[in-house]
């Protein structure tokens, strides 16, 4: 597994995605670091690879951008060749092929989430080794370790869209408080059949927490 090289930009990160009936909510923090310097404090780690398919990027910023670009290219080609939209499963499979075949050269932990006509909403997680896991919700990045307990306790199947948004907001916010590599603002995207709604939660609007 490739370690980040000295000077390489890291998406320290907390990322997560939650599935609900009719769509998915993806969320991330906005901090990119080179060592201790925060290179970008308002990063957008939620990257569109297709109209209704987004990926959340963690690990090396360069690696994840490159992989996401390649997958976006392939999905565009897929649409032209097949005459129909790719499914989230297809997108996740493409990510997996790239991440697994190049596992020694990449440092990328990716969550793929979206909506398609065949399955409806889906969430897939591809951690460092290049394995693929389909899950109702997924956590990733360095900050995720601090919120596993919170998420396991508070997640329920069949939550509504609003409940999912609150769940993601609260979880990412807790992780950002404890993880030095995560911080800034919370970016959210709500992906449904009809559209993609982008939301921003700035520092002053973060959910209530005990901060001393």
């Amino acid at each position: 597994m490739a370690q980040l090289k000295p000077g390489e930009v890291s998406l320290g990160t907390t990322i997560m995605a939650v599935q609900f009936e009719g769509g998915v909510v993806v969320g991330a923090d906005s901090r990119t670091t080179t060592g201790t310097y925060i290179a970008n404090r308002v990063t957008d780690k939620l990257t569109k690879v297709h109209d209704r398919i987004y990926c959340c990027r963690s690990g090396s910023a360069a690696d994840t951008q490159a992989v996401a670009d390649i997958v976006a290219y392939h999905l565009e080609l897929y649409t032209a060749q097949h005459g129909k939209e790719p499914t989230v499963k297809v997108a996740a499979s493409l990510f997996q092929q790239l991440c697994y075949e190049n596992k020694n050269r990449l440092s990328a932990g990716i969550i793929i989430a979206g909506w398609d006509k065949v399955e409806g909403s889906s969430v897939y997680e591809i951690p460092l080794g290049g394995s693929i896991h389909k899950q109702p919700f997924a956590l990733g990045g360095s900050g995720s370790v601090f919120i596993y307990g919170y998420c396991d306790k508070n997640f329920q199947l069949n939550m509504s869209k609003e409940e999912c948004i609150e769940f993601v907001k609260n979880s990412v916010s807790l992780a950002m408080t404890r993880d030095g590599s995560s911080g800034g603002v919370i970016r959210l995207a709500v992906i449904t059949e009809d559209n993609v709604e982008r939301l921003l939660v700035t520092g002053d609007k973060l959910p209530e927490q005990y901060l001393g």
């Binding site: 060749q81 097949h82 499963k89 297809v90 499979s93 493409l94 997996q96 092929q97 065949v118």
Partner: protein, 258 residues
């Protein structure tokens, strides 16, 4: 309708003055001289049937299959050179496998047809190879939707509700056009396919033949398989009975003329 190429037909990389590539047309002739194959796309699946002309009584029944499977959900029947068919089926299997490896789902019918069409077309470009002497019928189940494609030696491919290739294609096509394919089930289609093959078969030209019948449908769980023995037997009986009835009808007419 035969025409002599006279000089423009020596190589597949040569056009004739009236814009034809004769080698591809000659490949089509190879198809037209082979045993009939038909495909019927109906409500809940696709049925393929082939008139397997046997050149010896010593051949083991149901051996030397003319209908082949690729990727489990794709059925391929053909008219023309069987050896060329095997080569194309090998290619389809590789394409289907590669697709599934990349995308982790089964390839849809239009993609398989396109890949095969492009492959066949490539062999019409170079004088160092000859075009494939087969017309391929591709039967496929996309989720719940049945699909049928025919790929010609030129590489041209079209989707069909029902199509026929080979010696008896004219007779077969006429019969197929009479059927209400949209509202049929595969069981009914299997019987009709058998009947059409039997009626398209010309007893004067080749005495021995065997019917080969396969389907891909909901009943087979989206897999392409040769029909179960009971369906096969029923279809053959139905076909033979229809032939007898036709013969009886013909005899009656002769008597009335007197």
């Amino acid at each position: 309708m035969t025409s002599i190429g006279t000089g423009y037909d020596l190589s597949v990389s040569t056009y004739s003055p009236d814009g034809r590539v004769f080698q591809v047309e000659y490949a089509q002739k190879a198809v037209d001289n082979s045993g009939t194959a038909i495909g019927l796309r109906v409500k809940d699946g696709v049925v393929l049937a082939v008139e397997k002309i046997k050149h010896s009584r010593l051949l083991v029944p149901h051996s030397n299959r003319r209908i082949l499977t690729a990727g489990k959900h794709i059925g391929i029947a053909s008219a023309g050179w069987m050896s060329d068919t095997r080569h194309l089926v090998k290619r389809v299997r590789e394409e289907a496998r590669h697709y599934t490896d990349t995308y982790k789902v089964k390839p849809p019918a239009n993609i398989v047809a396109e890949r095969l069409g492009m492959y066949v077309q490539a062999y019409t470009l170079y004088s160092s190879v000859r075009p494939f002497g087969v017309s391929t019928l591709l039967a496929c189940m996309d989720a719940k939707e049945p699909q049928l494609y025919m790929i010609e030696p030129s590489g041209h491919y079209v989707g069909y509700r029902g199509c026929a290739v080979g010696k008896g294609k004219q007779v077969a096509k006429t019969e197929i056009e009479k059927l209400d394919l949209e509202n049929m089930t595969v069981r009914e289609a299997a019987k009709e396919a058998a009947r059409i093959i039997y009626s398209a078969h010309d007893d004067t030209k080749d005495k021995l033949f065997e019917l080969e019948l396969s389907w891909v449908c909901e009943e087979s769980n989206g897999l392409h398989v040769h029909v179960p023995q009971d369906v096969y037997d029923q279809s053959v009986q139905f076909a033979e009975r229809s032939l007898d009835e036709d013969d009886d009808d013909n005899e009656m007419e002769d008597d009335e003329d007197l």
